[in-house]
């Protein structure tokens, strides 16, 4: 199921809209005009980065950049999709609040905020953060330092996978301001990248989620206001700081502005990490990963109708697409015209999330695949919360009985009951996400559910 070694270089893909030709900025730098925005540098060096993107503008007015990010509509790319400017503003506000309180209570040491770039990528189907750190590490660094400047932090931390750490350390060594960034290697595991687990890791060296009654922006690492942003979010922010919100929104849709880096894996000819415009139809992205689409570079096609035709042919081997990763939801093959947007995917229990698209081919049973994923997720519990420890294996077990074609008509209702029982009852969203995924498998494969209850399978017979 993993595609670690099969990834060709990332590249830009078709988008529904093309940007107007932008005017060159100082130093002859031209803002990227197509969906290929993040991977333009010829190599990961600082020189190549500077040649393409130019220098990072200084942050003189923190609020001005927060405002620009607000206008851009950038959302977090780690999975939760939280508004980036709101997080920045919240950390700014709570830093100001704590420091005022401290000064009033007799001039104690001020509490400087903590800024963390999160590239731990615990999602097994995602490779986009690793790819980004290997191909465009300096955009991540630019974005991280910009966030630090905005909230008034003097240092920052990169909490990244082993692969990412190597790339980031090399990049940091190339630049003078790199010394202000520490690199912490995240352990493997599905929940180790959850924001409170990141705070826990930096504070106690234990990468498990922790209980919280206030947001990290208020009280995170050692009680300090803490900003945790995904590495792709940081790279996008570095481009917004350079080229502005209007440029960012010139690609993508009103609701899903800008580009998004997605990882396509599963039953496609060419599993890959690919940068796409926000709101791109799922079928267009999948088609770009099929050999049938090889003839012409998909980026050259201007007419969306051509796209749809090509997609229809390439998608005949697709049974469903899992969108948003293991905490996402299945979209059945008949609905793949759905755009990669939060609003459009919501009815499927899916979300753009960390940009994971896993393709299930027509030769695979959706319920069997889902049961395997549910079992994996149950095993990835940090084993801290009793409801998760008990409820997830129970839910996975019932789903596996359904997948194994047990003729017990009560199974679907029992899955729904367990999913509702675990939701909202953990210290992180692992039970909620797992429940959502399991419920989506019942919906997307509902005809197969009926077949399984009669002892048959739509795929295996």
């Amino acid at each position: 199921m993993t595609v670690r070694d099969a990834l060709p270089p990332a590249h830009g893909a078709p988008g529904p809209s093309a940007a107007p030709t932008p005017a060159p900025l100082a130093g002859g730098v031209v803002p990227p005009a197509t969906t290929a925005r993040l991977f333009l540098a010829a190599d990961p060096t600082f020189a190549a980065h500077r040649a393409v993107y130019g220098p990072m503008p200084g942050i003189e007015h923190p609020n001005a950049l927060v405002d620009e990010v607000r206008l851009s509509g950038l959302d977090g790319r780690g999975g939760a999709g939280f508004s980036v400017w709101r997080k920045l503003a919240a950390v700014l506000a709570s830093t100001a609040r704590t420091n005022t309180a401290h000064n009033n209570s007799g001039g104690m040491r001020t509490k400087r905020p903590i800024v963390v770039g999160n590239g731990s990528e615990g999602e097994p189907l995602s490779r986009k953060d690793e790819t980004l750190m290997r191909r465009a590490p300096h955009l991540v660094i630019d974005g991280l330092l910009a966030c630090a400047a905005v909230v008034g932090a003097t240092e920052a931390t990169l909490y990244v996978s082993t692969e990412g750490a190597n790339a980031m350390r090399t990049a940091l060594a190339e630049r003078a301001d790199g010394a202000r960034i520490a690199v912490v290697v995240a352990p493997d595991g599905f929940v180790t990248g959850e924001a409170t687990a990141v705070a826990n890791a930096l504070e106690h060296g234990v990468s498990v989620p922790r209980d919280h009654v206030v947001h990290l922006s208020e009280s995170g690492v050692r009680g300090r206001p803490t900003l945790v942003q995904n590495v792709e979010t940081l790279a996008q922010l570095a481009l917004i700081a350079r080229f502005g919100a209007a440029w960012f929104r010139s690609i993508g849709t009103e609701d899903e502005p800008g580009t998004r880096v997605v990882t396509v894996s599963g039953a496609v000819d060419a599993p890959q990490v690919i940068e796409v415009a926000g709101g791109t139809p799922v079928q267009t992205i999948i088609a770009a990963c099929m050999n049938a689409a090889d003839g012409a570079d998909p980026a050259d096609k201007a007419d969306p109708a051509d796209d749809a035709d090509a997609a229809a042919g390439a998608l005949s081997s697709v049974r469903a697409v899992l969108i948003g990763g293991y905490h996402g939801g299945w979209v059945p093959s008949g609905d793949l015209a759905v755009p990669l947007s939060r609003a459009a995917l919501e009815p499927y229990g899916a979300h753009p999330g960390a940009g994971v698209l896993f393709v299930l081919g027509t030769g695979g049973c959706g319920l069997e695949t889902s049961a395997n994923i549910a079992a994996y997720l149950a095993g990835q519990s940090a084993r801290q919360c009793g409801v998760c420890v008990n409820g997830l294996p129970a839910m996975a077990d019932v789903l596996s009985r359904l997948a194994a074609r047990h003729r017990d008509a009560r199974l679907p209702a029992e899955i729904v009951r367990l999913a509702e029982l675990v939701t909202g009852r953990g210290s992180c969203s692992h039970p909620d996400g797992t429940a959502r995924f399991v419920l989506s498998s019942l919906t997307a494969f509902q005809t197969d559910v009926r077949a399984h209850l009669e002892g048959r399978c739509e795929v295996y017979g």
Partner: protein, 90 residues
Amino acid sequence: MAARRFESTGSTGTLLHIDWTRCDGRGLCTELLGDQLDRDEWGYPLARVDSGSLEARDRSNVPIPADQQDAAADAVALCPVQALRLVPRP
């Protein structure tokens, strides 16, 4: 009983926050706050919420009506694993 029902729909009061990383489902809170907390099949407290979508249910922060504040404070003090605390309702 009617008065209690009326008050429990008010916006006053606090939230009982459950720290799931500590909770062992020992069941003292579900005895003291029977109207607010049920017990699931593994013994863990289960907020009695009868409305709202599944996603909107925050069953880690249980609304405590004004007339149950004392019982909630007892639950916090008596929890054998210190998994409870009262937080102001936002």
